[in-house]
Assembly symmetry: C2
Amino acid sequence: MGNKYIYSFGNGKAEGSAGMRAFLGGKGANLAEMSNLGLPVPPGFTISADVCKYYYENNQTYPAELSEEVGKYLNRLEETMRAGFGDTKNPLLVSVRSGAAASMPGMMDTVLNLGLNQATLRALINKTGNERFAWDAYRRFISMFSNVVMGISRDKFEHEVENIKKKVRVKNDTELTTKHLQELVEKFKDIYKKNTGENLIDDPRIQLQKAIDAVFASWNNPRAIKYRQLYNIKGLPGTAVNVQAMVFGNMGSHSATGVCFTRNPSTGENALYGEFLINAQGEDVVAGIRTPESISNLQKEMPRIYNEILRYKDILEKRYKDMQDIEFTIQEGKLYMLQTRNGKRTAEAAMKIAVDMVNEGLIDKKMAVLRIDPQQLDQLLHPIFDPKAKKVVIATGLPASPGAATGKVVFNAEEAENLAAKNEKVILVRKETSPEDVAGMHAAQGILTCRGGMTSHAAVVARGMGRCCVVGASDVNVDYKSQRFSVNGKIVKRGDYISLDGSMGEVMMGRVPTIEPKLSGDFAVLMGWADEFRKLAVRTNADTPEDAVKARAFGAQGIGLCRTEHMFFGEHRIDFVRQMILLAPEVKNLKIRIDALQKELENAPKEKKPELKKELAEVKEAFKCPNMLYTKALNKLLPMQRGDFEKIFKAMENLPVTMRLLDPPLHEFLPHEEKSQKEMAKKMGMTLKSVKMAVSRLDELNPMLGHRGCRLGITYKDIYDMQVRAIIEAACNVKKKGIEVYPEIMIPLVGIPAEFRLLRDNINALAKTIMDGKGVNVKYSVGTMIELPRAALIADEIAKDAEFFSFGTNDLTQMTYGFSRDDIAGFLPDYIEKGILENDPFQSLDQTGVGQLVEIGVKKGRSTRPDIKIGICGEHGGDPDSIEFCHRVGMNYVSCSPYRVPIARLTAARANIQGTETSSTV
Amino acid sequence: MGNKYIYSFGNGKAEGSAGMRAFLGGKGANLAEMSNLGLPVPPGFTISADVCKYYYENNQTYPAELSEEVGKYLNRLEETMRAGFGDTKNPLLVSVRSGAAASMPGMMDTVLNLGLNQATLRALINKTGNERFAWDAYRRFISMFSNVVMGISRDKFEHEVENIKKKVRVKNDTELTTKHLQELVEKFKDIYKKNTGENLIDDPRIQLQKAIDAVFASWNNPRAIKYRQLYNIKGLPGTAVNVQAMVFGNMGSHSATGVCFTRNPSTGENALYGEFLINAQGEDVVAGIRTPESISNLQKEMPRIYNEILRYKDILEKRYKDMQDIEFTIQEGKLYMLQTRNGKRTAEAAMKIAVDMVNEGLIDKKMAVLRIDPQQLDQLLHPIFDPKAKKVVIATGLPASPGAATGKVVFNAEEAENLAAKNEKVILVRKETSPEDVAGMHAAQGILTCRGGMTSHAAVVARGMGRCCVVGASDVNVDYKSQRFSVNGKIVKRGDYISLDGSMGEVMMGRVPTIEPKLSGDFAVLMGWADEFRKLAVRTNADTPEDAVKARAFGAQGIGLCRTEHMFFGEHRIDFVRQMILLAPEVKNLKIRIDALQKELENAPKEKKPELKKELAEVKEAFKCPNMLYTKALNKLLPMQRGDFEKIFKAMENLPVTMRLLDPPLHEFLPHEEKSQKEMAKKMGMTLKSVKMAVSRLDELNPMLGHRGCRLGITYKDIYDMQVRAIIEAACNVKKKGIEVYPEIMIPLVGIPAEFRLLRDNINALAKTIMDGKGVNVKYSVGTMIELPRAALIADEIAKDAEFFSFGTNDLTQMTYGFSRDDIAGFLPDYIEKGILENDPFQSLDQTGVGQLVEIGVKKGRSTRPDIKIGICGEHGGDPDSIEFCHRVGMNYVSCSPYRVPIARLTAARANIQGTETSSTV
């Protein structure tokens, strides 16, 4: 850009263009572009963001030549407008606006009517013959300049306006007369003097300089910095400043002001959508003092202008290839375009607009795919609260799983199940949830917890089920004993109705009505295009046949994670699961004891043998009963698991299904409250004491780092054997019916190659026996999760044996950061607030740290097995940024909860399009 | 080696040499070497380990030419011995022995007298005129051949020997007559036939072939494989086979057999040390049937032989440059050397021998340093049980912290303290320990737990204190309620005496007497040499002034880890610590509430202000009392911590002291049992319910991954501020007295650069204020622990701000493996048994996995701060293998518990010597 700091626009031409957004800001670039397109833009000039950069790099000073340049462009503007800045006959008034490449609410906004003082005010009155208009413009200038440039609180000015309205007993500003406005101007000048110690600046050139200074200074005010941090806005040189001649929509009945979208932002319909006000200024539309008219009325009232706008709509859409959000002013019958930008829209509208524009030949399919924000799709996939309904928000937590849920408050899972069985809608409220609560969570409309983060148990399970869920609502104080919760002084009792907004994290009193959005045909069309462009396959995390069916309807290309233990909580099953778990250690210990005694007996001197024989017999006797019960439990669970797997395989005909063997620590399946322990003791014929002892034996200080994952399979071989048997038998049975199945058996939490080898050998041996027995050959594979840092670091060794990798980025994030996702709530708020973390690393993959391990894992894995299938099955598999990362590092697939499958499909397509070609968006 | 498979030895020359250990095995190489040195070795030949390699690589077959080669060498041996293999006049008898480069008890051992059958037996009788000797040799041959070569149980033969002794009513084998021996030979042959289905092999050449086969087959038997796994023996081609002419020490009063060390292996004294038996075979010495005579008696009885041995001692020590363990046989007045190898010795002897040999000019100082096994030093640093005492071992656990402790059993820490205060010696027995037990652990002689691994709380703390400790003794069933424990049927009650051997992991009944070993002058000399050769500095982990003094005496060059919170458990302190912890969250929340209300008040409409003002006043009122108590607690702790730090700084004058700010989760400091909670409630004037609520609020599911480390410093700034104040004030105070101090303030558990920056800025600001106030300038630095995988991965970013790194490899191992060191006992035994892990990764650093992160961390850290000081302060800092690793990756120092400082000094020297030059040991 050399030393050119200023760019003019207006009058049918401009020095800049839309492509110079980084230097001219969004607003300046679009004003220039509209000028180039021949649209009527009030002329003006843009001071480049490079000046802002210079300003901060040079101790808040300007380039030497800037002041002269500004003068030059101001002169040119005076010539164009045939008016003079400060001229007492025909004064030029300007607006000054900030404008960076990214929209930034934290910065200085706008000063209008700059250039006014007592002398130019008089000239304005003479020129327009409208005294009230001129005084109104002046008081607006003073308050804006004072607030935005000098930092005086807006309240002080509004206070005076209120006072005078009270005094003269009117309700609206518009009812104030010229005299009242003159009085206000005096008061405003007093406020200015009181707060700055100086008189109001009269010299328009100094007014302008001060306003420019203020814009540049606002770039680095704390709010702006915070905003950039929050929205991860990086690499911008600074903000530009736009100085533009004023036009007025409040100069009589041939004047007006309006805003409109070139298409309907709510439905996507291809028709102007917006509103206007005759004889008004822009801020009046926003302030809502008078009710604006629909833009369609403009066709009747000012048909020429309306057609002009229609023409500009076509020009702008053709140029920007997108729906536009425009602002305009009509000054005494002449239309001025003040702003254009890509318009915000609902997901539904985005779909329709993108598909329509492809059909209209405005954009191609790739561009259409790039136009849809994947996060926004969420809106289309869950019911939402009626936007018109009244809401009383009593608490806010983390938006763990989207959706809109209403129901009666219950405090335990069992009651949730009971009421749901009676067709009651319930909201399950817990301090936190555990696997025992899963059935109740499934039965509930929504789940509310006061602890836990975005990947706490409640959040993960709810997301998997598609249940609405709000977690970590720390203001909610749950009292199980009295069956109520208090929140900010309010008491909510069992049976009271509440509503949860899972997308906003809001907890509301009572029953808020919901509406069901429908997936339009455009959705299917667009997703079809997305599938054309993506390389990354999309699978789903599904633990039940129902989820599998649902996910397949959403387009899942297989199951990336089926948690075999999630089926353990079904009716009647949990008792056998508990029996198996309680007896496993005892059976194992007795087996070891028997082996040891047998060996001892062999080598013992003769005189010791009788004694040892007696002991061996006793131990063998003691072994019988627990072993029988243990074996019985395994035998009961086998057909149940096999049946589930058969259904899942059928639902996923022709597609791969990754089944993870038992992963969580066993204690998660046992009851920890005395009441449930008593019940269990009764059911199993044990004493309460022995149940308690068995439960406490499995307690761990840090279960997340404890006896879980493949460590269970190594110590309790029978349990993994039972699961493998269920998988292979199910696969054989289904295949016999002519349904093609591709089971992928996944061993969790591997950190040592020998762990994998040992378990893989067990699996292969067992599978061979079963398949030989059934006379069926199932093409299955055995792979592992990469979820420990060590696994990623030695992935080359593991890949020698493992046929696939699935990155378990939940655990990988826990270990890499040393963050327990269940305990993160203790410090995460501080971390976010202090800017130490930008977001919860369990939501969006930490590409800097955890990502290094993922990259190492992929690279090393492929180094010893080039065709290894690699995917991700952590919560991150449904997060757009993380999906992009997975595409970039060359994974084969991502796996996510059913409801996020479309989001992943779209993101995968976008990542591939963006990765292979430079986007042609403006 | 081309196609040469066999190497002869004996007769003053050999085809092999000591340097060919890998091919000839230790035994074969040394026999060759002794031959070359002119020592009288019974001649023979060695079949190279290359043949073993060939054997396994070619489906258990031999190279085509081998059979012919064996024949050739056998012929040569016959010529040398002037006897014939199978000759019925003058038969040659041989021994066949396995022998790999590493000693391997799992392999085949020895077959003696091979070549005997009915015909050669007769010849032997004729030749020696000693019928009983010949029959005895024959029956020994049959049982050895049957057992070692044919795999028939040894029991079966011993059973027959017992039978005959019972029958003829004698006690010892030597009392059996020729007739009895003949009878035995018949029985032995029957056993052979019954078990093999064939007659005993008579053909000496087939006997030899079978024996050779057996040696090679034994290389890969399960015991041998297991042994190699266990002792990490890798890269050997296989075992060699030694075939050697028999000599007999049992041919009359001019014959003898003996073993001796060239120096005293117990004290290191430079004099022959060993024993011999006149008219006996080697196995008689081992069997202990007759009491052997001291080697010094040989000087009187066979002076010529004795002097010959003395001469050979010098030759061998000069050649091997080390103390030798030799075996010899005297056959009718002629000395034969059967074996030489480097002798095992005690740590004390190793020291003396190394120092003596340097003084004698046999070795240089570097070699002396390489001669001492650092692990062995441990023996010198702790009292040990009297080796002569009688021991009743009732259980075995993990040898967590060396030492010999005896005392009365107590089951809680408080009682341990009380009894210790009355000068009673106690052993604290717990299921596991927690920080509440620290004072009791300190008061006890030793600690026994039934749970936990080598780096459980008990183990780490005990090692740090130098307290004897056995952990994970899983047979011990502790019953707190009845104040007793049961172990394998025995009951041990409170007050009973037990003894713990912390080096062996043994638990013994009663009071086993101990002896205090003294550090000899040689120790100091050798450690001085070690210090000359090492590059790695050695610091200590010390939390108290006492430990600091002790460690400095052991040669520590500073403190690498002072856990500032370990002082929290002192008398009177814990109450204030608890007060601080319980109130911190409340004070913080109220502060946030006050700030929020103040902001709300500012922006509120007028009509709402009175209500908000009232609320603000109420919250401020509620804030007063907890804030006062909280501040009081901090103010009480400040001088206590400062006082401790002053003492530590004084003890470490002129040396750096790394102080780690508060690290463990706060709940560790709170009482979890109702009784203690009641006491606490009383002390703090709280209700039991509110204490319980406060404690449960701090409970976490996975505290290791929870709210701890720098996360505490970020959420509770006041606590870190108090600690920093104590450190800097102490440093200033001590410096004012003219004592030079170098505090290094260490921020734990950093995973995000912003965490470090925020806390570092706080520290610097506070330090400046304090130093300015005191008018003292202390040169301190601020660094961090690298203990999260993420920290290692982004070490370049962290090093931009951090002045030093200390690898916390305990936590790094936990996170990298996903292993909780407190819970590892659930699966570690299975992992070790199944060979998945070779050892507990918390004992010896996992160089393959965790090591990669350490290397990444060092490399990346130095990439942005080349002069960054890098050390290690995990438990691994005292483990020789891990210290070598630290040297190799270029760390500046290791830090370990005081008792391991000498071990680390020695290891560091060895690592540097071995890294910079090829060792010249044989």
